[in-house]
Symmetry: C2
């Protein structure tokens, strides 16, 4: 079992963002919401090229901060998400993508039934500080 992804221990990676920004300085965060279920399914990043590509193709496209390249969601897997609406915050330093899956999921992890998950499948128990998997 991948403890980081499947375990019940909170071990937040507070170093990741600084690493990401070192590799890809000109990125802004994007909250990604399923427009039908209203679930928040991902927080990702875009740079200017990723946003331009997303708008042009009307699909969810991000900038991969680990691979430092365009991340056209579903390009190889076919699990494409249509980009329905884009919102910007007051200070123009974050975005909200409202998306609709053509098929499949947003997260690379799968539940026990091999169904794709949304990324926020673990809830923090505020009393015990343990993570509880809501889509095991």
């Amino acid at each position: 079992m991948n403890q980081l992804e499947e375990g019940n221990k909170l071990q937040l990676d507070f170093a990741k963002l600084a690493k990401s920004v070192k590799i890809s300085p000109d990125i802004i965060p994007v909250a990604v919401q399923n427009i039908d279920t209203k679930e928040v399914i991902l927080v990702a990043y875009v740079n200017e090229l990723a946003l331009k590509t997303a708008v042009e193709t009307r699909t969810a496209v991000f900038w991969s901060t680990s691979r430092n390249e365009l991340w056209e969601k579903g390009k190889t897997s076919g699990e494409v998400f249509d980009l329905v609406e884009v919102y910007v915050n007051c200070e123009q330093n974050s975005l909200l993508f409202k998306v609709r899956p053509r098929r499949g999921g947003i997260c690379h992890t799968r539940n026990a039934q091999a169904q794709p998950r949304n990324c926020y499948y673990r809830r923090l128990n505020l009393d015990s500080s343990e993570l509880e998997n809501i889509d095991p």
Copy 2:
């Protein structure tokens, strides 16, 4: 009129995140969702202290990357948001806060009726590339 906050021109601040991380390296992004309306109302950041304070007080607490200090939402204004649920993503590098306002709004901007807004009050017109205010 503050063009950045009220205007219809998309002028994303792609430099902000690198500046934030320089000042506050150990932060992770938090998507903030109203648990009742399901609206995404803010993307903010927490460090370890902010998350600890949020969980202890069961209220929305963040790390202000512009002031480099704890941002206890509503501490002076009284516009406190109860922290109902906290979720973590697969890679443990982002969070989702589900919150409920006791009163007031999350955004520092106000609409023409002087009511507080959620931060995503402008939608990008994907054809014209102009911003449309949905809560003017």
